[in-house]
Symmetry: C2
Subunit: 411 residues, 2 copies
Amino acid sequence: MAFDPQRALADLDIIAARTGGLDDGGARRLCWSDEWLAARAYVRSELEKLPVEIATDEAGNLWAYLRGDGDGIVAVGSHVDSVPNGGWLDGVLGIAGALEVLRAAADRGTPPCTIAFVDWADEEGARFSRSLFGSSAASGHMVPAELADLLDRDGNRLEDVVAACGVDLARVLEAGSRLQGIRAYLELHIEQGPVLESEGLAVGTVLGTVGVERARGRFTGQAAHAGSTPIRQRRDSFLAAARTALELREIALRHGGVCTVGGATCTPGIVTAVPGVTEILIDQRHLDASVLAVMKADLAAAATRIAAEEGCGVVLEPIWRIDPIPFDDDLIAIARAAVRDVTGTDRALPSGPLHDAAEVARAGIPTVMIFSSSTNGISHAKEEDTPREHLALALEAYGRAVDRVVGGADA
Amino acid sequence: MAFDPQRALADLDIIAARTGGLDDGGARRLCWSDEWLAARAYVRSELEKLPVEIATDEAGNLWAYLRGDGDGIVAVGSHVDSVPNGGWLDGVLGIAGALEVLRAAADRGTPPCTIAFVDWADEEGARFSRSLFGSSAASGHMVPAELADLLDRDGNRLEDVVAACGVDLARVLEAGSRLQGIRAYLELHIEQGPVLESEGLAVGTVLGTVGVERARGRFTGQAAHAGSTPIRQRRDSFLAAARTALELREIALRHGGVCTVGGATCTPGIVTAVPGVTEILIDQRHLDASVLAVMKADLAAAATRIAAEEGCGVVLEPIWRIDPIPFDDDLIAIARAAVRDVTGTDRALPSGPLHDAAEVARAGIPTVMIFSSSTNGISHAKEEDTPREHLALALEAYGRAVDRVVGGADA
């Protein structure tokens, strides 16, 4: 039986019915929880119907291997875990697509090469604020000692929580051996943004994950009485921050990236005082590392100029950064062709959010992703949704792209 | 002996040495505390050296009457209480000035009319966030039932705390009888702002206290992923709030008032999300009620226009307001003349902060204030200071103005 998007949609409905979806407050598959394990148990039960070898690696990632004739492994996967009150599609769409890849391939007999299915553990990082747990362990970018003492909201240590699920934090990097022999990784995901929908498109090909520069901007002026300090004698840190936030939008538009001020905190922060200190959280993203560097420099120049004009000082304290991770040109071409064949449209776009695919690509494995549209661009919320016909088209394109890669030279 | 500013300065030094000043972390005369009582005890001890009748009224205000020949009473006073880690001059400068008025008048014999000294209780409201306790009780603008259950940081009820100082909250409005017969009230205070200093002036006359309009501006856009949402598809509540804050500055400059955004709060307020909701605290002030009304309308128009341009909604929720309280024209003229005589300069300015004098004026009693300069415009902080020569000039001008009013027609 051929790759059937409807079977994958049925899997999604079952998982949503068991562990939360659109109609009951959203997904509850927080990693390392009972409901996460329940969703995994369903996936495993479906895998057990196929002629595959199932294994869980040292980082808690679930693998299933459909052995093939040729050399090299093509890997397919995503994650079943969700944020609390999350959406019914984030992650699990790719799991349903990968599962259907195995079903269709097994139906046709021994594939031209081995196909590996993977459900990465704790992609969201929603419990310990540390995302991409399983895939970063496999890629070797995790430093386990940095994670051991992270606490969840109830004060539980990460090391203890993962141990209860059979994961020994000291050994998680051994999961890296699972990447040996993988010559391609393909992942299907919802866009989690409004680009495809706004252009009337169901499916798109992902060029890579954007680079991110995050900083805390601390503007220091002079706290002063709101009633007794004339406007022209103020050094208002909030107005300096406000002008910088507006300039950040111009920087993003000028360079075709995104810049966001996610929050602001004023000190003393009372209605009767000019804010002496204002801190803003700044996030800048671009797919091109050199353009991102220019955006970062533009921010520094703008903040310094504006602060001086407002009689304030400013310090931009880096919080976190990651380089852009471009996907593989050949796989991008295959995915674009598959999307074009299925939908009649061809749109390639960067991914703003990170994904397990980024960790796999960082490990040097050729990687690509396919996105379905996201209704209203909403994700990480119970309202997250995608028209079922868009999901079916995305699944179909994904199945075709994997077929082409698995088929290799004869494709 | 004539009015002697140096005696008043010596009082200030003694009170600072006993209850906190410039050199030891700031004033500690938090109302209803032991150190407040200690400062009052010093004032009372000085009053007891004079031929005055001393009384504490039902609201905890300390009065002393130097009886005179004619009808009508001229009142002089301010407050000895301070904010925590406050300045050595806020309030107590006016107490020292008023005390010196009594000393000089008593020295000259029976004055042409009775002079009433008053130390208002809990002007600052620093403990229960309710300022002008004693003066608002006397003016009749307090609603005691609203205050009974206010709690301080340690969970103590206002009603219990004032009771420990002999004040029965149910009877505080009876202090209003103290205002009967008062035909003028004069108060000396530091400016608590930078206007006089920036113009190189030591002393100024106060035209009244400004009207205040306070609101919480709540901008509602759409929370969205900072990575996946293109700039042009955002409805960013923070940027709408930022533009409104900058426009507020233009409104203040256009109308000669002040406007302040004291704080901002973003939801979800994380670096990875476009803020869906941003709240800002807005304060607008002007001495002219009709201009303040225009400023308020300008804010509403600007916020509505900007929010619409940003794809957001906005609600301006009123928090608190007070009308401008203009001081008495005749007393202003007398005070300006006294300041001019002493300093050779004549500057009249509104007061941004409220004062006990505003409550007295609201009660229908002709009122005026004189300000000394404030170094760097700083107040409510241990760094609060004023050059001693400015304090001496302000005290001298205050003494002359009171003399003129007490002297009546022959002045």
